[in-house]
């Protein structure tokens, strides 16, 4: 029996065919080319292992496929090709998981998220206190989430993600939220979690944090695995790539 908390990806290809109004512009573009549907090939032929207890950083420009990769690790998006094996439970609350219904209060969203993740009501009530204390949002928890600022939103999401105690913790962009004080607090919490012999997959644009916290890192570029090595090497390679090719990259991000 393998130790819980590892993950393997083999030749994974991930695609999405969205059709919701948010992407109306993309749809119009697709229609003008006389196509009724379109498919985004977000990740192509990516293979890597995350041994138990590793903190893996994921870097790459916007649209490189980082979030899609995370959703596949969480079992949300099925791969179009290939195979993903996860030993143990995954934190299914990615950074954006909380607040799915902005009309409901922060409290209701957190409880609902926990219940959907399979926790009992009692367990979730107990965790709730911990989450609110960490996020320091006691006063606004009973207000509808549409009244939250994006920083408050992110703080709550991060607090939920780090409190759920999964075998594999997925953190997506969460470190870049909140004010300076909360960012310091969340970095400290992340360091503590990483020391706890826990498997963590961390997506972040804060390259210093990746270097600091992660053992290994992967660099995704346009859906392809460009590099998989120790965090230092990957971040250095990525940084030099950014410096050399910054204008081209900036255009790509539009």
């Amino acid at each position: 029996m393998p130790v819980p908390g590892g993950a393997k990806l083999r030749e994974t290809r991930l695609t999405r065919s969205p059709a919701d109004p948010d992407r109306a512009a993309a749809r119009a573009a697709a229609r003008s080319q006389r196509r009724t549907s379109y498919t985004v090939e977000a990740v192509r032929h990516v293979s890597f292992d995350v041994p138990h207890g590793t903190v893996l950083g994921v870097v790459g420009s916007n649209g490189a496929g980082k979030s899609t990769l995370m959703r596949t690790l969480a079992g949300i998006l099925p791969p179009t090709e290939g195979r993903v094996v996860v030993e143990g439970r995954v934190s299914t609350l990615l950074a954006l998981g909380v607040g799915f219904n902005r009309k409901l209060s922060g409290r209701e969203n957190v409880i609902l998220g926990g219940l959907a993740a399979g926790l009992s009501r009692d367990a979730m009530e107990a965790k709730y206190e911990e989450i609110v204390a960490f996020a320091e949002l006691e006063e606004i928890m009973d207000l509808p989430m549409r009244t939250y600022s994006s920083g408050q939103f992110g703080r709550l999401a991060f607090a939920v993600a780090v409190t759920m105690e999964p075998d594999v913790l997925l953190i997506d962009e969460a470190l870049s939220v909140g004010d300076a004080r909360f960012r310091r607090k969340s970095t400290r919490k992340m360091k503590q979690l990483c020391r706890e012999d826990r498997t963590v997959v961390l997506v972040s644009h804060a390259l210093g944090t990746i270097k600091d916290l992660c053992d290994q890192a992967i660099w995704l570029d346009q859906g392809e695995l460009k590099l998989w090595d120790d965090a230092e090497t990957v971040v250095d390679a990525y940084t030099s790539f950014l410096d050399v090719d910054q204008d081209a990259l900036a255009l790509e991000d539009v």
Binding site: R16, G75, P78, E81, V85, G88, T92, L94, G99, A117
Partner: protein, 285 residues
């Protein structure tokens, strides 16, 4: 801090995700997972109702007033069409028929967007998606129960019989619930692929109402139109429902049998379509 106590999550230790967009998940495990998380469906329905102010006095009042006003409007309409001739207990029949029809159609109206509207949750969390439409059925149920209190005085004042035979409404109500669940799952799944369904649905449901023995008694259907109550999925269930409440005796066996066949059939089709498609939802949202 809650570091003690084993985690209540009961997911399998090893999880393998492979290409398998369409096709049924392992049913036993899926249903157990869904049952474990039933509190989520209940809580989702509760918070949604609260956001619609269902928990306030005026919210409750509207809930009861709305179908009652509707029954009033239809009563006047039908009375005019029938040149002022209405059989005994017709108003009671109309009221309870509309309440029952709005129970099923309310679940569908609320549930059709349960998957597309929950995209944020679906894209960020893995759980049995079937809980989303089923939560809409719970909502419809909670809206239906208070309206029964309105019906009781109407029933008594209309001088309709009060017998043990009225208990037949219980199995018929169960059939209506199965049908509501089946239709809600079906429409929620179809909505993912055809986003226009939610705009169409009110018209389909209105046609369904006119084709059901709600605005008229099942026995009043003229020759040559009886087939309508068999082709319309709601037809025989509502015929049995109206008959039991009007006569206070067991419904005709044919109504019960055809109604049960439709209800169970739609439940099976709806749940199979939904479950076999749900892994594809995250890709399409």
């Amino acid at each position: 801090m809650s570091t003690a106590a084993p985690s209540p999550l009961r997911q399998p230790e090893r999880q393998v995700f492979e290409k398998q967009v369409v096709g049924l998940p392992p049913l036993r495990e899926y249903l157990r997972n869904a049952w474990d998380r039933r509190e989520f469906a209940v809580e989702l329905s509760r918070t949604k109702l609260r956001s619609q102010h269902f928990d306030t006095a005026f919210g409750q009042l509207w809930l009861v007033l709305n179908p009652l006003l509707l029954a009033g409007v239809y009563f006047v309409l039908v009375d005019i069409l029938r040149s002022g001739e209405h059989p005994k207990g017709f108003f009671a029949h109309l009221v309870i028929g509309i309440f029952a029809y709005y129970y099923i159609s309310g679940a569908m109206r609320d549930g059709v967007k349960s998957v597309t509207g929950g995209s944020r949750l679906i894209l960020n969390q893995s759980f049995p998606r079937v809980l989303l439409p089923l939560s809409s059925v719970i909502t419809a149920w909670k809206r239906f129960v208070p309206t029964l209190l309105i019906y009781v005085p109407v029933h008594v004042l209309s001088g309709l019989p009060i017998t043990f035979g009225l208990l037949w409404v219980v199995p018929i109500f169960v059939l209506m619930t199965l049908m509501a669940a089946g239709f809600t799952m079906l429409t929620a799944a179809i909505q993912v692929y055809f986003r226009d369904l939610s705009s169409f649905l009110p018209y389909l449901l209105r046609i369904g109402l006119y084709a059901s023995p709600v605005l008229y008694f099942a026995s009043d259907v003229p020759h040559g139109y009886e087939w309508l109550l068999y082709v319309n999925p709601f037809g025989q269930v509502l015929a049995a429902w109206g008959d039991v409440l009007h006569t206070g005796t067991a419904p005709p066996a044919v109504s019960l049998a055809v109604g049960a066949a439709w209800s169970i059939g739609i439940l099976i089709v709806g749940s199979l379509v939904f479950m076999s498609r749900e892994r594809d939802f995250a890709v399409r949202l």
